[in-house]
């Protein structure tokens, strides 16, 4: 679909482009009620980004919530057959608190989920769609992928307390090598492990090249499994022709209660934070008593609202002044003719100084007169 960037904002265009992309791969739009019973979130607090939930009492006295998350509602409502794979996407408003805004914020979120029989092929397809989603928004984009299994396998090879493990994970997340060295020192971690940690913290390469380096480093089956999975993904991305767009970065750590296996985050140049986030979340399905697997991601469209705004310096192409004494016919015909030339018009009785226009026109008895032209800053 071709939407004019002079009319629509980037996030609005993205909604349509993403929808077109997802539908073209057979994902169906899934519409969810804005409200959900609070109980659902109370039972699954671990899986939420923030624990703050906007609640209200419904007319029948039930405690309801404005949904802070779409995935939970989706999983609750999908009736899974044994051999089925649900491929859906959504475009919904969610309500969350953020540190930057004091209070709740309405966030437009588009996301995609693949639930049920999720094999490697489905996983690769979702990753391809994540990369293509970013490409819909900018041609300078990156998808960073990580695998929880690799890091967990690495840390499991030493007997660390949960507390120490958490400290290691946080240091990896912030690429803090001096902290990692300090932690290794305190815990008596052998040098070979420190070397691996050093490599994975500093390394930032396309997935296929990273795997070549890491293949020597697997210490146990958990790490090997993770590498095998990543290697399959790298092969598939090569076939899609997207191998340059996917990089391995173990600092990508999403909510560990929620995700297992691969996790990923998407970035575009010019926005200082991630705009796409997702991963495998089999644990959530397990907790909700469903025997199946799931992978999905969300795109945070609110973050691209300001991105690369080709801010048109003009409000309107032509500001048209008319004499109220003129006949309607004269005014309407003149305006429609100018619009017919592909220009946007604003009709006014007097010149409005707050309007930025390219041309100032006046309709008189004799026809249309050009009073002023401001093409200096013309964007088009």
């Amino acid at each position: 679909m071709n939407l004019s960037s002079s009319v629509f904002r980037n996030d609005e265009i993205a909604v349509y482009n993403l929808r077109e992309l997802y539908q073209s791969y057979g994902y169906n739009l899934y519409k969810i009620n804005r409200f959900e019973e609070y109980d659902l979130y109370a039972r699954n607090k671990n899986f939420l980004v923030s624990e703050n939930i906007l609640t209200f009492t419904d007319t029948n006295g039930r405690l309801m919530a404005l949904k802070p998350d779409v995935t939970l509602s989706l999983i609750k409502n999908i009736a899974l057959g044994a051999d089925q794979t649900y491929k859906v996407f959504y475009n919904e408003n969610v309500y969350r608190t953020s540190s930057a805004s004091n209070g709740f914020k309405e966030i437009v979120q588009t996301g995609l989920e693949c639930i049920g029989k999720v094999d490697m092929m489905s996983e690769c397809e979702v990753l391809m769609l994540a990369i293509k989603s970013l490409e819909c928004i900018s041609n300078e984009s990156i998808l960073d992928i990580s695998h929880m299994g690799f890091i967990e396998g690495l840390l499991d090879s030493e007997k660390l307390s949960a507390n120490e493990k958490e400290k290691f994970l946080f240091a990896i997340e912030s690429k803090n090598l001096s902290e990692i060295k300090r932690l290794c020192n305190i815990n008596g971690i052998p040098d070979n492990l420190l070397n691996i940690l050093e490599v994975i913290v500093n390394m930032y390469l396309p997935l296929d090249k990273s795997i070549e380096i890491l293949s020597e480093m697997a210490l146990n089956s958990k790490m090997l499994d993770a590498l095998r999975e990543l290697s399959d993904i790298a092969d598939a991305m090569k076939i899609y022709g997207l191998q340059d767009k996917i990089l391995l970065d173990f600092s990508v750590v999403n909510n560990r209660n929620y995700y297992n296996g691969i996790t990923f985050k998407g970035f575009i140049k010019g926005i200082p934070e991630s705009i796409l986030s997702g991963g495998r979340y089999d644990k959530l399905l397990e907790k909700m008593g469903k025997q199946s697997r799931a992978i999905g991601f969300a795109v945070y469209l609110d973050k691209i609202e300001r991105y690369g705004n080709n801010e048109s310096s003009f409000d309107v192409d032509a500001l048209i002044i008319y004499d109220p004494a003129l006949s309607y016919k004269k005014i309407i015909n003149a305006v429609e003719e100018i619009r017919g030339q592909g220009k946007s018009v604003k009709l006014a009785v007097v010149i409005d100084n707050s309007v930025k226009y390219k041309e100032l026109l006046k309709i008189t008895e004799r026809g249309v007169e050009l009073l002023e032209r401001n093409d200096k800053y013309s964007a088009s």
Partner: protein, 209 residues
Amino acid sequence: MKEMISIALPKGRLGEKAYKILADAGVECPAINEESRKLIFENAEKGVRYFWVKPSDVVIYVERGAADIGIAGKDIILEYSPDIYELADLGIGKCRMAVAAKKDFCDKRDTTLRVATKFPNIAKDYYNKQSREIDIIKLNGSIELAPILEMSDVIVDIVETGKTLLENDLEPKQDIVDISARLIANKVSYKFKNKEIRTICEGIEKIIK
């Protein structure tokens, strides 16, 4: 094309020392030493742009991507916990975060502890881990005054030599964490300007070794 790297430096002595390390690491910007009212200094040839900001604001500039990298004290990083990469310990501006109190003070844990500090998050975190109930008094300066005037039992503050404490009849009681200046980076800049940032990083690592 070489990407321009924006660097936020903390105003003051620490920032000047940090700039010297960066300059030695190969990203000098001679304009910065000239007396002027300019806010931003650029060296197009090296592809760097420097600006001075309030030390506690460096993390904000970097987290929001207005600066790609910056120099910030570990105290500021711990207090604000920004979502950034912490790439290197510059080994300068060394001091420690500590609990201090009047010499004769002894925490008997029988009442809520009144804590005066410029770093409420660090203080809260430290006492939370000990399951200690505290009453935070956030101050912006002259923290030592609080226990002298009996407004607080203890203070949580930066201790360099301990001289200021001593002169006011106070002494450090427990150390919380070691502090020094760190090289931090915006997470997305690190991805899109990886080569440039890694080069600076490696230059710094060679110097501080």
